[in-house]
Symmetry: C2
Subunit: 284 residues, 2 copies
Amino acid sequence: MTDFASKLAATVEKNDSLVCVGLDPVIDRLPAGLEKNAAGIIEFNQRLIEATSDLVSVYKPNYAFYGALGADAWDTLAKTLAAIPDDIPVLLDAKVGDIGSTAEQWAHMIFDEIGVDAVTVNPYMGKDALDPFLSYADRGVFFVCHTSNPGAADFERLETSEGPVYEHVARKAVEWNDNGNCGLVVGATQADSMVRMRSIAPDLPFLVPGVGSQGGDLEHAVGDGLREDGQGVYVNSSRSIIFASAGSDYPEAARTATQQLRQQINDVRTSSLRTTSRGVAQSG
Amino acid sequence: MTDFASKLAATVEKNDSLVCVGLDPVIDRLPAGLEKNAAGIIEFNQRLIEATSDLVSVYKPNYAFYGALGADAWDTLAKTLAAIPDDIPVLLDAKVGDIGSTAEQWAHMIFDEIGVDAVTVNPYMGKDALDPFLSYADRGVFFVCHTSNPGAADFERLETSEGPVYEHVARKAVEWNDNGNCGLVVGATQADSMVRMRSIAPDLPFLVPGVGSQGGDLEHAVGDGLREDGQGVYVNSSRSIIFASAGSDYPEAARTATQQLRQQINDVRTSSLRTTSRGVAQSG
């Protein structure tokens, strides 16, 4: 198992959680009582992390929300990451990808300079655009595959003679998984495709955005997406957790929202395990 | 015409050039005499810009090469941009794209905070991942379409019943061009497809990487890609220009390399115009 995978598995076990919290702060939406600037964002993130770190499997800051702070981007992201306990993995959502010599720079930025455990990449440009990320064998590399937004219909779902484009992406992630560090981004609003995704990529971790604000179907996404080990689906929620309250009780509100999501997911896990056990018993 | 398009056209006219210089510095490759740090990169870029600014149509820094500098990223990019004369357009190569609320943050980062005239985006996630960029009607938005790297075969060239995936991207760029600010990234190593690209998107500007280090076919790329106005193809060269010399004469070497590329492109333009004129004369 890669360092990322073992760190993730240990946190899932310890916190009994498949929840991924997206740390995507926006100055205009900071709760009452916080400064409306980078310092306010740092405090917001620190308090959210304190309030949820025993409930999550992974934190996922999206680089765009820090880059948007301009000159304050680096410091704000660095202080946010410093607030995350060392044993909890961090996945930087960036969705980048470029020709090899450029992808090397992105990978250096993300894995060495920012120093996170995993990243999301955009696979459109193909293997040599992804290899520089994959060569960091101890880090996770999640390919954007089938996303939860309406635009997924434009190119991701284009039909080829061997199925939609996103299925090619899933098959290539399996094929290019020499270091055991590939993962897939599979949106919860596309739950109808989750069974198929899991059959194509039985062992890969799935990052599942699209619950909460985007209205995805949690039960199908988790129930259909779980691996046989009862893990492998990491459900991201950003806005529904971090902006759960616009008041000064936002840490408590975020904690409650995270607990509820964890419970909803774990109810599906328990139910799936029961189904699997019954299946085994019947066939035995 | 958008602000970006008119700025670009004016620079093309003034400098008689379709050359795009990629400002993609790497500390390890800085020429002799420069400090091996962010200060060295700033000086390197400043001298390259001084040496070439009367020969180019547009400068294209790739964000990854600045992001890789970690805490020095923002300052290095800002000082580089400050060295570019105000009348020359700047296209930030970033190849990003994400769901709408995240893409808004990327667009704010790139257009408001960094403040460039144009950007490259990755279209894989579809229209709502691109709209936040396209809504900046005065900026250029270049969709990664058909790239110059080997991995273009993996997903970009997948065949659908209506042609390869990248042709869908080109058609959508035409369809979504309400603000007249869409462009396409079409690699020079795929020159066989350039005629087809131009027929699908007769009016769109094409950013053409892949000459120089990547060995693309300049004559076909330019000859087949030019619009009827003799513009519309902006040929990027990064390493062949900025690393033209490893010695202290790098500004002169970069200038010579830029002049040569400009001349090669302009020879094709002249030849294409002659062909077109002859065609008109014969048919008249």
